[in-house]
């Protein structure tokens, strides 16, 4: 699924340059369930953005589903984000003036899905996250947990294999957070690869593999993926 070789990311702010990621080597197989942990500023979001093709590395090679994506053009990257990656953010990042329906519709509009098919797909997705009754609600008319579920429905729009979530429960209470994690579990069980950034050790332990970042380097968990196991087998359900 993912193969990163000697990835570096350097930020240049004025005259100072800062190495946010140094020499990252990472292999992720299909249908893994991974937690990324580490102290604040260790480069977790930076790494996630690279994985999701929101940003490009300063150095190194990156293969996503066998395709070299480290030096694609902006438009090619947009295509990859649209079809192959589903993003879930801590701050939800929904369009505030648009309804749940319109928010979920976004990636389908960008991929050019026909209107009939699109309509059905949006309703299906919102039903799947339990929001079939709230199609027309705006973000301001929903709870945090509901907003995050809209965001997940949106991330699943073009049926991407890879789901990336940057602190998806960071703004939620324990109960709503647990509901969100349950949806990720289901996605993993239906064959998706799920990568979650978290500060919550319970969630990290719940995942199949944990990658620890510190000072822009993976210092533990970098190796071969552990043998596939189900969430229940890990005893964390």
């Amino acid at each position: 699924m993912i193969s990163m070789k000697n990835i570096r990311k350097v930020y240049n702010t004025g005259k100072v340059s800062f190495e946010a990621l140094r020499d990252i080597n990472l292999e992720v197989e299909d249908n893994e369930y991974i937690a990324i942990v580490g102290p604040s500023g260790s480069g977790k979001s930076t790494l996630m953005n690279l994985i999701g093709c929101l940003d490009t590395p300063s150095d190194g090679e990156y293969y996503l589903s066998g395709r070299k994506v480290d030096s694609l053009t902006a438009n090619e990257l947009a295509g990859v984000r649209n079809r192959e990656v589903g993003f879930v953010f801590q701050a939800f990042n929904l369009l505030p003036y648009a309804s749940a329906y319109e928010n979920v519709e976004l990636p389908l509009l960008f991929s050019g899905m026909r209107s009939k098919k699109r309509k059905k797909r949006v309703v299906d997705l919102l039903n799947r996250v339990g929001l079939g009754e709230k199609l027309q609600n705006k973000p301001t008319e929903m709870s945090g947990g509901e907003m995050q579920r809209v965001a997940i429905a949106r991330a699943l729009g073009n049926d991407p294999k890879l789901i990336l979530a940057d602190e998806p429960t960071g703004n939620l209470d324990t109960k709503s957070g647990a509901e969100i994690i349950k949806i990720f579990d289901e996605l993993w069980e239906t064959g998706h690869t799920v990568i979650v950034i978290t500060h919550d050790m319970n969630i990290a332990n719940h995942c199949q593999r944990t990658i620890k970042l510190k000072d822009g380097m993976i210092y533990n968990g970098n190796g071969f993926p552990v043998k596939k196991q189900t969430a229940s087998a890990a005893g964390l359900n």
């Binding site: 929101l54 947009a78 295509g79 984000r81 993003f87 953010f89 319109e102 976004l106 509009l109």
Partner: protein
């Protein structure tokens, strides 16, 4: 759906920025109105002036007898060169580039008498063609001199509209008889009022015209005061002049290059100057309007930059979901064009309103402001270009945002 979403969003943004939107729209509105109004008044004035120019006649050239200024074939300079009606007839028969020609015999201060009035006026003896050349259009129910009048030396007269009024008062006077130099004449037509901004020996509305044949029997003039010629096409006027000088030069032995043997007034030359001058004048007016419009365009560009600041996050979200640059760009351009189009449409309305409101007392002097189709399309084209240029730069900035930065993920 998506279009709807973005149009709705457009109006939401514009409401949010009421004052700024209003100011911007006003800039475009004002600019458009300025272009249209200046264009309209310029065109109106131009058309009015053309009409007045044509009052004298369309593409005509007038020839007067003159004095030679060069010796020619042993003859001294300073000889008087005159032409007769027969010469004019010969010119008519031999010069092919000619469309119409007529001699004009003339006599000023001729006494005229009706039952109620005595006065004096200029009388000219001309050919039937004179009417078309000099735009002497008869009012309904009347006519100009015709070939029969000429052949039979009829005592018929065509009157200028003011002269007819002075003789008879208001009303239709075709068929009435009065005395010219104590000889009874019948009125066959009265000139339609016309605008006229140039003339020789006074404006046409105060003149009377009779057949040249009748004129000669009345006063036994041998030489016409002048002759008037019209070319097949305005561009052929040069040849007409040359050919006429050639014919007369051969007969009266003067140098065809002698510019003073005949005095010539080519009205097409004045017209050419006038047309060029007016073209420049109108371009100047439209230029001023365009400046105003460009200022409005800069305003639009500014507001779109502000909109961009406010929407950076949203653009980031769309990009994260896979929106391509082109789409972001189109959305921004679309909004700019919509904003400009609304302002422009209101500007058009304002301009037409103002032009409609111009009182007739003013249009009498400056003509009626008119916007031709071509002028309107040109204005729309200019507004379109301004909209595209004003929208392009903010749109490109929006499309070139980096998704991560736009999302402010950090």
């Amino acid at each position: 759906m998506f279009q709807l979403l973005s149009i709705r969003q457009f109006f939401r943004d514009m409401r949010h920025q009421k004052l700024r939107t209003f100011m911007t729209m006003f800039g475009i509105l004002w600019g458009t109105a300025a272009v249209i109004i200046l264009l309209g008044f310029g065109t109106g004035l131009y058309k009015y002036q053309i009409k007045r120019f044509k009052g004298l006649g369309e593409n005509i050239c007038i020839f007067w007898p003159g004095l030679t200024s060069k010796p020619w074939k042993g003859l001294p300079r300073g000889r008087r060169i005159r032409f007769t009606e027969e010469d004019v007839a010969r010119i008519k028969a031999s010069v092919t580039s000619l469309k119409r020609i007529s001699p004009e015999f003339a006599r000023s201060s001729v006494p005229m008498k009706t039952g109620r009035n005595n006065l004096v006026a200029r009388v000219a003896g001309v050919w039937p063609e004179f009417s078309e050349m000099r735009n002497l259009i008869p009012q309904a129910g009347g006519r100009f001199i015709n070939a029969m009048d000429m052949a039979e030396k009829r005592r018929v007269v065509f009157l200028g509209n003011r002269l007819a009024e002075r003789l008879f008062g208001q009303g239709d006077h075709v068929g009435r008889t009065f005395f010219i130099d104590n000889i009874p004449f019948t009125v066959i037509g009265i000139m339609s009022p016309k605008e006229q901004n140039s003339s020789y020996s006074g404006r046409d509305y105060n003149h009377a015209w009779i057949p040249s044949s009748t004129f000669k029997t009345m006063w036994s003039h041998r030489y016409p005061q002048m002759m008037i010629a019209q070319a097949q096409k305005p561009s052929m006027m040069g040849r007409v002049k040359k050919d006429i000088e050639g014919v007369l030069g051969t007969k009266y032995s003067f140098d065809p290059e002698d510019t003073e043997a005949l005095m010539i007034w080519d009205t097409t030359e004045g017209f050419k100057f006038f047309a060029t001058f007016f073209l420049a004048f109108r371009a100047f007016l439209v230029g001023i309007g365009c400046m105003t419009l460009v200022t409005g365009g800069i305003g639009v560009s500014n507001i779109m930059n502000v909109v961009l600041e406010e929407r950076t996050k949203e653009i980031g979200i769309k990009m994260a979901m896979g929106a391509k640059k082109r789409l972001i760009m189109i959305q921004f351009m679309f909004e700019t064009i919509l904003l400009t189009a609304i302002g422009g449409a209101l500007g058009f309305l304002l301009a037409f309103g103002i032009m409609k409101a111009v009182p007739p007392s003013l249009t009498e002097n400056i003509g009626e402001p008119t916007v031709t189709l071509a002028g309107g399309l040109m204005a729309i084209g200019i507004i379109g270009v301004i909209a595209i240029v004003a929208g392009f730069f903010p749109a490109r900035r929006a499309a070139n945002l980096e998704p991560v930065k736009a999302l402010k993920l950090f």
